[in-house]
Symmetry: none
Subunit: 190 residues, 4 copies
């Protein structure tokens, strides 16, 4: 939706507080009042952004994962994909979108938003669970606790992404990918 797009651009560029409704309206080419026909408040825009972003993330990962490849290949794919998209974002105009999402998550963490941060995250963690399960069943992975490993895996990927943003100038991507994969795969492979 046009407004949400403009809001994301604005918040990404200027941050949650400095990005004003007026700017979003101008960016969307509409009047300020119109925004309030579609969103009850600035906070609701935050919530919708989180939902959209996580839903897109969810969809993207589900597509990576639903195919017939074996779990090891999938895990490699996930890591590659994370790094690739992180770097794409870092190098494209969407550069600040990552920090915007983090800002909204911190906002949701602090304030009682309608959107449950817990739920949204659990939803994401759950994506990885079938892969891990499958890997264990196939005798490829160690018999780790599926929930815990998924949680840790996503937290690693997220932390890695975050620091990539903070530091993205300094590293060679291929080398990073190789090291990441080496660590995580060793961690899970029998």
């Amino acid at each position: 939706m046009k407004i949400l797009k403009a809001a994301m651009d604005t918040f990404a560029k200027q941050g949650l507080e400095k990005g004003t409704i007026a700017t979003i309206a101008r960016e969307a080419g509409i009047g300020k009042g119109t925004i309030y026909q579609y969103f009850q408040s600035k906070e609701e825009i935050f919530e919708q952004i989180i939902l959209v972003v996580f839903d897109e993330m969810f969809q993207a990962w589900m597509q990576l994962i639903q195919d017939d490849w074996d779990p090891v290949k999938k895990l490699k794919l996930i890591i590659d994909y994370t790094i690739d998209t992180t770097l794409d974002m870092a190098q494209s105009g969407n550069k600040e979108q990552f920090s915007m999402v983090m800002e909204i998550m911190l906002y949701a963490y602090r304030n009682n938003t309608k959107i449950s941060l817990d739920k949204v995250l659990q939803h994401i963690y759950a994506i990885f669970e079938p892969i891990i399960e499958q890997g264990i069943l196939k005798g490829l992975f160690k018999p780790v606790d599926v929930k815990y490993f998924s949680f840790i895996l996503f937290s690693f990927l997220d932390g890695f992404g975050l620091h990539m943003f903070f530091q993205y100038r300094h590293y060679n991507n291929d080398e990073l990918k190789r090291t990441m994969k080496s660590i995580i795969l060793k961690g899970i492979l029998l």
Copy 2:
């Protein structure tokens, strides 16, 4: 320093934007004007907080690491320590300090602050380098790229800490520790 302490408490409790200079002054038991004798602006307070927090973190880790134990034990220690302190923070009154630090980092990332986020982070990554080096030299660790592994390690720990905050109710700590250690150690051990 009294002001910085009050500022950290205030920002942790209320967030960077909602935490006002007035509140900090009241919390510190001084006048609003006095704060401006020690800091040029609210932004400078952010910067000083980052410096202090990362310096304390630096000191704490340096102490963990400077002893004579072997690298494997140190790595285990680091992971335990990270999880323990994260949980301590999550369960103590300092609960929100973690998100405040993240908020300031995002702030520093977005705005051109005097404090270089890069430098501060590089400083932290560097803590881990000697351990890795030592481990490799001793033939205990795989011959990974020291810089890259350190970067990844801290980004993992940070992401893990962040998600612990978002989700800290849901997990059993001992199980988490065991899984974390298993992953990271397998990743690095020969």
Copy 3:
């Protein structure tokens, strides 16, 4: 008319400023735009409400007064009626209609509305004039100035009604009626 009814309900419940055109439209079960087909502006709705309210009031009093009873009985009737309807309003759902009318009168007093507050009020005062005249002619009332007495009488009744609203919990109605009648009748009777 449906719109006017909805407007009165809305303004009574929410006040002149907080009662919005949107609410009136919803209450009337029509679109916002439709209201502007029947009224030029919110102000015109105020004006029409005043007209309707005062016309109803006028009709009600005219009916009380047009019968053949003697002036003394009519005067008693008027006082009873005023108190009864005031209390009815105070105790029914229309509780706030009285203050709405007062609000509109103040509005009309302040702003140059098309509706002349003067005229509307003069119209009401004039209701009482025939009774007073009749009473004087019949030798029952003192030879007061008819216009002045009517003006004062209605201002008394209005002030009384207003304060009944502000204070309606605190008094016994029968006692109030008796005292009111005693004062006003003594004031006019020879």
Copy 4:
């Protein structure tokens, strides 16, 4: 106080809603923010105005009433005073102050303000009670219910004042005074 004075002028001139904080600040020769150092909200200004206005009214009436004159003379005085000050206000620059007070009372009636409209009014009614009591004791007044008569008396005076404002062009003041006094005194005198 300077702000309260400016607020009263502004609200009197422009009404409660159209009178803005910006205007009050300009009128008072101060910045907008300064107003919020002394008042928590626009509503609190309303409340303080009511308190001040009723307190002044209270003081003025107390002075009229505390002297040694007999109750009949006092009652006459009260009526004269009410009409005189009403007319003074109507003809001076304070012309709209009366309707402002009424607006605030309606506001207080509708919204749950900190100021209790009931209490403030009861306080005023109570002013008249000693006179009535004294008059009854001295055998000058009928043995009316003191509370009720006081309530009615003030409601009459208030209603009369209100209508004077709505209609003040049309009447001869001396004639009004005479008629008012005649009615009210007959109503109470034995």
